[in-house]
Amino acid sequence: MTSVDALRAPATAGDDLAAELDRRIVLTTQGGLPLVPRPYAEVAERVGSDEATVRSRLAAMLADGRIRRIGAVPNHYAIGYTANGMSVWDIDEHLIDAVGERVGALPFVTHCYRRPRHLPDWPYNLFAMVHAANREAALARVAEIAALIEREFRGACRRRDVLFSAGILKKTGLRIGG
């Protein structure tokens, strides 16, 4: 059994009830928290529980990572980050994890992942998202990443590209079914 299965298969009836309540809390709040003075009481009413229980379930989900955080997601265009560049890199298989950790640690990289190539059209296996006030600044940061890789992992990067965002088409976050 993987750790994921363990989360889906509660051991006792009490866990089962908690899992069911957690699921209802997810369904009720995935579109957002109610904007009322006591939002957790409002959620509790909608899921048929009480405020203290809802708060303790949310705290439990925060503690075990099912909730990354509770808060606001800005439209990055609106707060001045008009250049959103997805930099992609073709990195030597043997060095990819070392390069990924190093690039991910840069302060202006907001997401950094290793992903599969789709050859022949897509040779890139490292994705690093860069946000900046304008395209020139974003490109300068990408050049900074390239220089860092060349300095510390000579020859590891064979090709790179930057895919700028030309618009948000949808940004609702996840929606699981009822």
Binding site: L35, Y40, K170
Partner: protein, 170 residues
């Protein structure tokens, strides 16, 4: 991006997508920065946030509603990590012919599994994130999107996560 400011909800299927209707003022920016941290899980969390910023509970709620209405914020609430609940996220991309763009945006966005969707400048010009309740749901959803659009979907599942930090200083 300009908007007529009259329509109640922005049409998602425009060429450039969801645009903010206004710029946040200084107080909005402080509020946005604070709300990108951990929102308190206490009885009256908006009052607690307001106290730290010198704003009333009512003012915090009013501004937050307005920032959401004007698309300065795209959402406010818990950010669920579906992988920790047995589900999966996956980045996906398509090459959409320009002449077909609006039809495909509408078709793809209609899937509730599509959590985000961005237009990007590349032959692969549409990049979206799928979120499904089971790992198997990703491939199944990609097939349904291919059937609905008549276009191939390339999947880019993450093999390693080196860093994720979703906060941006406003």
């Amino acid at each position: 991006m300009p908007d007529d400011g009259k329509s109640e909800s922005l049409k998602p299927a425009t060429r450039r997508g969801v645009a903010a209707r206004r710029q946040p003022d200084d107080i909005d920016r402080r509020l946005i920065n604070t709300l990108q941290g951990d929102f308190p899980v206490v009885e009256a969390p908006f009052a607690a946030v307001g106290e730290a910023l010198g704003l009333s509970e009512h003012e915090v709620i009013r501004r937050l509603q307005s920032l959401l209405d004007d698309h300065v914020l795209t959402r406010f609430g818990p950010m669920f990590q579906i992988e920790r609940m047995g589900g999966a996220f996956c980045l996906a991309a398509m090459s959409v012919p320009e002449a077909d763009w609006l039809r495909v945006v509408e078709a793809v966005n209609a899937f509730p599994e599509v959590a985000h969707n961005y237009r990007r400048e590349h032959a692969l010009n549409m990049w979206f994130v799928l979120a499904t309740e089971t790992p198997e749901g990703i491939a199944a959803c990609a097939h349904r999107i291919e059937a609905a659009t008549g276009l191939a979907v390339s999947l880019f599942p993450k093999e390693r996560e080196y860093f994720v930090e979703m906060k941006l200083e406003a």
